[in-house]
Symmetry: C2
Subunit: 181 residues, 2 copies
Amino acid sequence: MPHVSIKAPVPGIGGLLATRPDTAQPLMLLAETLLRGPSPLSRGERELIAAYVSERNACRYCADSHGAFAAEQLDGGEELVKAVLTDPSTAPIDARLRALLQVADEVRAEVAPVSDEAVAAARAAGAQDADLHDTVLIAAAFCMYNRYVNGLGTELPADPGQHYRESARRIVTHGYLGQRA
Amino acid sequence: MPHVSIKAPVPGIGGLLATRPDTAQPLMLLAETLLRGPSPLSRGERELIAAYVSERNACRYCADSHGAFAAEQLDGGEELVKAVLTDPSTAPIDARLRALLQVADEVRAEVAPVSDEAVAAARAAGAQDADLHDTVLIAAAFCMYNRYVNGLGTELPADPGQHYRESARRIVTHGYLGQRA
């Protein structure tokens, strides 16, 4: 049971957003900006970084929902997402994205400068300032969303397959500021 | 030296905000909402939670700046802030705030449900749903801001005393959405 009473019987972050529209608005504006606004990283790549950070943080709800959003927007679909969440070093992704996932994991793991090695590897694979900036900020933001969702003890969907598929359709079509369920 | 090139010679998060106005806007709207919007927690108490989480995360820039914003808005001033950042268990604060700082530290430390013990202690000291929600979300948000500031290797002010005093005057008067230096 969640630590605070939830207005709507909606799992994960959805119940919190419905309960507190005052904080939902800036939280969703940030998600929309980071995951769907202008960036050299595609929307699918950014959702994949979000899902990977959430997986490593053991935030089941965020990993599965953003994994579904990534699968919907990447050519490799669910199989590619599963491979990345299992082990980016063997997943069929390009060197730049692989290096950026390493940067994201360093941001996740501790509050400290990303290692010069990880930055150099990303730059060697073609990453520019904006790729690095956006990767670091997405990873940092999911260290917030993951803690919000898990910290307050929100619940998982009873029918995960259907829930994440429907969320993916809604988010990919309408974005994070569109009508919520 | 920061990992990405910074447009303005401004330390901490300020240089990043000036360089990327697209992400600055939602980041500052979130800070304004969480730290200055409607809440049962006073603005000073919320800045104190932000400063405490940042101190525990070893984010010097955020701990000192939000510590200065807290000092400006709490009767105990700098001395109280210093006592809380050193050890909340002996600082001259009420039982409710002490229990909420414990909740915040659990959110910071790992991506997991806050312990039933910490929630029960906060409720026993008078905390309601909104106190718990706001504390968890502020702590989670500073796990993002701290990682953004430290992860990209931003620099500390050359004259910290003056820098944080001026920031505090600006933030307390105009808020996070006001004119930046």
